[in-house]
Amino acid sequence: MTQDDIFQKVKATLVDALNRDDDEVTLASRLQADLGAESIDFLDIVFRLEREFGIKIPRGELFPESIFQGDPSLVAGGKITEKGLAELRDKMPFADPAELDKFAADPKLDNMGDLFTVNLIVRYLQAKLSA
């Protein structure tokens, strides 16, 4: 399956899950800021991707949760710590390194949602499907 095939299926999934128009979903779209996803939508998206692609997505694998659970060694003063950033890179090997670097330059917890883009999902599925 090519990257575009995956993108088209992901796009259709997000159109259904988030009630968006087809042309609103691009690779660069951020799930929360651009497409209006709320926390429960992330679970819905995971369920739909599993059905659509016939795969299992273990909890926290696509959208890591550990960072959000208030561990002071990972998050301090509203920012992700060095240890937190290392954990993020470890948990999200499929993420675009350039996007992670951009986030690491100003690792505010509030900005972390910007990492969750359509591109991230496509890259995750590419890695998963070729494994």
């Binding site: 259904d16 899950a17 429960i40 679970l43 819905d44």
Partner: protein, 162 residues
């Protein structure tokens, strides 16, 4: 206040599908105001009936140990109004069941006539967090909803032995 919007289960296959019926009566309070002179079953209550049918299907799948809450209705379509005197049939099929929640696809018919369709997404409340807030009591399946399954079993037994 009773908040039960189905009358009886007529078919139940664990972890698979459930069918329930709801008889619409002119005696229901909402029919006097919704609308005066033209009683219509409110669409959200139709959806609630479908969610109760699906919610019990999801709850039973884990022996009512999870607190099942309606998290999202990704899609709902209504084809026509339903009026007192009709019997609605709610059918919910389990699409997905995971530790975090479940998805059901449901349809509502009246004498075979399509009334509505919806996909309903249920979440299981986090066991640890909800125990801190609500204690061990499962407020979702506190009795009335589970009681419905009991009615279905008793009626089925009566019908078989008659």
């Amino acid at each position: 206040m009773r908040w039960i919007w189905i009358d009886r289960f007529t078919h139940f296959e664990s972890k698979k599908t459930a069918t329930a019926v709801k008889c619409l009566s002119q005696a229901e309070d909402h029919n006097t105001e919704h609308f005066p002179g033209f009683p219509v079953m409110p669409a959200p209550l139709i959806l609630e009936g479908l969610a109760q049918t699906g919610g019990i299907l999801v709850g039973e799948a884990n022996d009512f140990k999870e607190k099942v809450v309606l998290a999202k209705v990704p899609s709902a379509k209504f084809y026509r109004e339903a009026h007192p005197g009709e019997t609605l049939t709610y059918t919910a099929d389990l699409l997905d069941l995971r530790p975090e929640g479940a998805v059901v696809k449901g349809r509502v018919t009246s004498d075979g006539d399509p009334i509505a369709e919806a996909e309903i997404f249920f979440a299981h409340l986090d066991q640890n967090r909800s125990a801190q807030i609500f204690g061990d009591n499962n407020f979702v399946f506190s009795g009335e909803l589970k009681y419905l399954l009991g009615i279905a079993q008793r009626v089925a037994t009566t019908e078989t032995s008659a």
